[in-house]
Every structure is written in C-alpha cells, then in structure tokens.
C-alpha cells in the first residue's frame, strides 16, 4: 500500500470509534426525537405508537403550563446571561491587573463554578427559606421566597448568576491577556479616560470572547434544569416551570413521551435560531 493511502486508512481508524459512538448516541437520537414528537409514543415496542402528526405541537401551543415554561426559560436566559457576562467582565477587568491577593480572589470567584448544581441549589433553598432563612435575616425582609408564586423565580435567577460569574470571569481573563498593553498606553497618551479605553479598545478586541460566552451561556440558560428541579420542581402552581423540568415531568412522570419530545424539539429550534442570530450579529459588527 502506498504511504499516502496507508495514512488515510490510519486517520480513519483514529476517528472511527469516536464517530460511531457520536453517530449512534448523538446524531441518531436527534432525528429520533423529531420522529417521536410526531407520535403518541409508547416506550414498549410491542405496544403500538400512534402517529398523530403535529398534534403534540398543537397541544403545546394551547397548553398554558407550556406557555409559562417557555416564558420562564426565556426570562431566565435574558436575565442571567447579561448578569453573568457584565459582572464576570468587571471582575475579570479588575483582576487582570497585578493586585494583592489576585490568585485567592480568582479562586474564590471560581469556587461556585466547580461545585455541582445539586449542592448549590440545596444551599440556596436553605438560604432563601421563608422562616429563619439567612437572606431574609441579612436584608431584614420577611418574604416567603420559594413558596410564593410571584417571588419563587428570584432565588433561581440569583443562583444562576452567582454560579456563572466565575466562569464568565475566567473566559474574559483569558481574552484580556490577548489585549496588548501598548494599545492602552497609546490611547492614554491621547487623553482617553478609562471608560473610553474599555469601550473603544477592550470590548472590540474581546469580540470573539464575547461571542463565545454569549452562545455558550445562552445554550446553558435554555437548558436550566437542576436548580429548578431541586428548589421548586416547577411549583408553586407551576409558577417556576421551565421547559426542561416540564419535559421531564411529562415524559417520565406521565409517560407522555411524544409530548415531552415536542417540548424538547421546540426548545432546540429556539436555541438553534438564537445561536445563529447571535453569530451573524456579532460577525457583521466586525
């Protein structure tokens, strides 16, 4: 065998195990999910699944709980993504200078990121408990955070931002290292103030970092699951329902697999469209 041909075969052998598992365990399930969403699906292959066309999607548009779930999921993303990015950027900007205690501070801000969602959700449930909770005590309030429909999303937003600041900070720190200090010096000589420096030098140069964060955090935001699952399970009275939790309940508590799939397909379509728009928008601003 010729060397070039041999190398081609070797290359294919390297990627083969990964590609097979990827096709079987990711790509195939994506199409399978679309298929299931068109059926009144029965998990047991011996019992027939009934083809219902778009009925699951029609149900979804008429289902007020699904409406709440999508609204809450979008709100969660719209609130927590800028929250994480702005705070993460400010902290990264501050910690990018050589200051005393820099490493310790970075480590502290990163701690929530490496802690599991389950345990931080448990802590927040306890912090926000209505009677004798630490949050009520510190702020001298008396709010039944998690059991009042109008307030229950607040602890979920706070947790989402609190947990993500460190990640956002770390990625911005990496980006900031790519900004040459000579640029700042030149602009400072020209009389630019700090805000001008950030606006006209730092932010434009960080465009790829901002794009990466925006897309990743948006995907993460739309997938919010464990914090809601642990703290409220979507209650009280579905006021904190989000798509992932509702999908889980429909599929695995009520065995409405077709409807659950329709919910997840809808979420996927929304995320996909938003990710495309974000990419276009950030690229066109170059």
């Amino acid at each position: 065998m010729k060397r070039a041909t041999r190398l081609k075969v070797v290359g294919m052998l390297f990627v083969l195990p990964g590609l097979i598992s990827y096709f079987g365990w990711t790509l195939y399930p994506i199409f399978y999910a679309f298929l299931i969403s068109l059926y009144k699906w029965n998990l047991n292959p011996e019992l027939p699944s009934k083809f219902v066309g778009l009925a699951n999607y029609i149900t979804m548009f008429q289902d007020p709980v699904a409406g709440t779930a999508f609204k809450n999921t979008v709100l969660y993303t719209v609130i927590t993504v800028p929250g994480q990015m702005i705070l993460g950027f400010l902290i990264a900007y501050a910690l990018n200078k050589k200051i005393y205690g820099q490493t310790t501070l970075r480590l502290l801000y990163y701690l929530p990121v490496v802690t599991s969602w389950i345990f931080v959700s448990l802590i927040f449930e306890y912090l926000f408990s209505g009677y004798g909770g630490l949050v009520n005590y510190i702020f001298h309030t008396n709010i039944q955070w998690l059991s009042s429909p109008s307030m229950a999303m607040v602890p979920i937003y706070v947790l989402g931002i609190w947990k993500g600041i460190g990640w956002s900070m770390l990625i911005f720190l990496a980006g900031l290292q790519g900004v040459p200090p000579s640029l700042y010096e030149a602009a400072q000589i020209d009389g630019a103030n700090k805000w001008n420096l950030i606006r006209h030098i730092t932010i434009p140069l960080l465009r790829p970092t901002i794009m990466f964060e925006l897309v990743m955090l948006t995907i993460g935001g739309f997938n919010v699951f464990l914090s809601v699952w642990v703290m409220t399970s979507g209650g009280p009275m579905n006021s904190t329902q989000v798509v992932s939790v509702y999908m889980f309940q429909q599929a695995f508590n009520y065995f409405n697999f077709g409807y659950g799939s329709a919910l997840s397909v809808m979420l996927f379509v929304i995320v996909f469209i938003i990710a495309q728009i974000q990419r276009r928008w950030l690229k066109s601003n170059d």
């Binding site: 990964g18 909770g133 630490l134 996927f268």
Partner: protein, 290 residues
C-alpha cells in the same frame, strides 16, 4: 504660585486615586464574600446539632459544634455505598471519554481522509444541541435492551461516549499546535502512528487533557437526570440520587443534608485543585475560542 497649584492638584489626585482604590478593593472583597458565604454557611450548618438549626437569628458561626452529622450520614444513611457507586461509574467513564475524544481529535488534527471536512462540520453543527433533546430517544434506545436497565455499566458507557463532539473540537486545536518535526522524527525512528499518539501527543497535551478531565469528571460525578432514569435499585444509586432522595424524605434536617453534600463535593474540589495549574494554563492559551 503655579508650582503650588500643581502640588495641590497632585495631592487631590493621589487622594482621589486612593479613595478609588479603597472602593475598588471593597467591591471586589464584598463580591468575594458573596461568593463564599453560601459555602461557609453550608459547612457551619453541617456542624450544628439539631437544636441550633432553628434558632433565630440564624447562626453563621455555630455556638456548639458536632461532627455527629457526618458520622450519622456515614453509618446510618450509608453514604459510603453511594460514594463507591459514584466512583465506580465516574473513573472508568472519564478514562473512556478522554481516550475516545483524544483519538478522534488526533485523527482530525493530523490526517487527511475522505469526508473529513464534512464529518467535522457535522460535529460542530451539533454543538448547540441541548442535552435535553437527546434524553427521550436515548432512554427509548436503552430501555429496549433489558440488560442495560438498572445497570451501572450503562452509565459508564453512555457517559464515556457522551460529549465527544465538544471534546474533540476542544482538543483538536491543541494537537494541531504540536510541532510537526517531533512527530516526523518519531516516524523516522520507526514509531507506528498509534505509538506516536500515546508516546508523544498525549504526554505533550497533558494540560489540555487535564482540563478535559475536570470538565468530564465534574459532569459525570454530578449528573442526576440520566442515572435517575436508569438506576432503579437504591443499592446502585450514585451520590446525587441518594442525597436528593434523602433531602426529599428528611427535608428539614439540613445539617445532615449538608454533611452528606460536603462529602460528595470533596472529589470534584480535589480534582479541581490538583488540575488547577493545567486548567488556568489551558484556558489562557486560548483553548476556548469559537
């Protein structure tokens, strides 16, 4: 006169600057405290006896301390079993995951073969797919094979092959950065392609592999959704399943819940601290760009 004015200006400027510095540090430190208070409260609650759990005002630093909560979670609740289960699943799964991802990434980084660009484009295009979309079809696939249900091996395999697209995309950049002459020299020395991969490429990429190990281990150790669907017998449960079930049953005994949570959190934190050096290095070398 002019000279005096300049001095005055300098003094007020320095003053303003140091006031700014104080504000700056205060904000940073208050922020850091907000980051850490929940953890401090968690640890302190786990050390409280039942009686001081419901005192008002709440005690951030408890007046009396006991380790009996940890002991009880270990002896009565049997958290050791869940810990063992989590370890049995996470360790092989991470190894499989990193092995498969690095093989795939190396194939894409160093070789040319028909369909390479197409396959890679497909991998990238599905990076944005939410895991949520995959759960129902994956559950349908697994549940139709009786052997796979209520089996820890299933979790090892599915976690082992999960997330390959992202990992391969992440690692490929690092592999491409490895100097070509090292690889060429090894080839002339008679190394096979696979030998080059595991004797040269892998050792050279330890920071990237370490970073991946953190991501992968964290995700698998903390996963709740998927194992809760597969593992029905309590004796096979992992830590998140066991602790959430306990919390559901004994919700108000937060001291016990947090004692268990802290035991469960230790490995992830330990791994992060061990690999932290690699982690920061990798991220700042720009491994995460789109």
């Amino acid at each position: 006169m002019i000279k005096n004015k300049k001095v005055n200006y300098d003094v007020s400027f320095v003053l303003l600057k140091s006031v700014g510095k104080v504000v700056f540090y205060t904000v940073l430190i208050v922020g850091a405290i907000a980051m850490i208070i929940p953890f401090i409260y968690m640890v302190s609650t786990s050390l409280k006896p039942m009686a001081s759990l419901f005192t008002y005002p709440p005690q951030i630093f408890p007046t009396s301390i006991t380790f009996s909560n940890y002991l009880r979670m270990w002896e009565v609740f049997g958290i050791g079993r869940y810990f063992l289960n989590s370890t049995i699943i996470a360790v092989p799964a991470v190894l499989i995951n990193i092995f498969l991802s690095s093989l795939t990434a190396y194939g894409f980084a160093k070789f040319d073969f028909p369909g390479k660009n197409l396959f890679f484009t497909i991998l990238i295009a599905t990076l944005a797919v939410p895991g949520l979309l995959l759960v129902i079809p994956q559950f349908q696939m697994v549940s139709s094979v009786h052997f796979l249900m209520n089996n820890q091996l299933t979790i090892i395999l599915t976690d082992g092959i999960g997330g390959i697209a992202f990992n391969a995309f992440f690692l490929r950049g690092f592999f491409e950065g490895i100097a070509k002459d090292i690889v060429d020299a090894a080839e002339i020395d008679g190394c096979s392609q696979f030998q080059i991969y595991y004797k040269i490429i892998l050792p050279q990429s330890l920071p990237a592999l370490g970073t991946l190990a953190i991501f992968s281990f964290g995700g698998i150790w903390d996963d709740y959704f998927w194992p809760s669907l597969i593992l029905s017998s309590q004796s096979k449960w992992t830590l998140p399943l066991g602790i959430l079930a306990f919390q559901g049953e004994y919700g108000v005994q937060w001291n016990l819940v947090f004692a268990a949570s802290i035991i469960a959190m230790i490995p992830t934190l330990a791994i992060y601290i061990v690999f932290q050096k690699y982690f920061v290095q990798t991220i700042s070398e720009g491994g995460l760009k789109m």
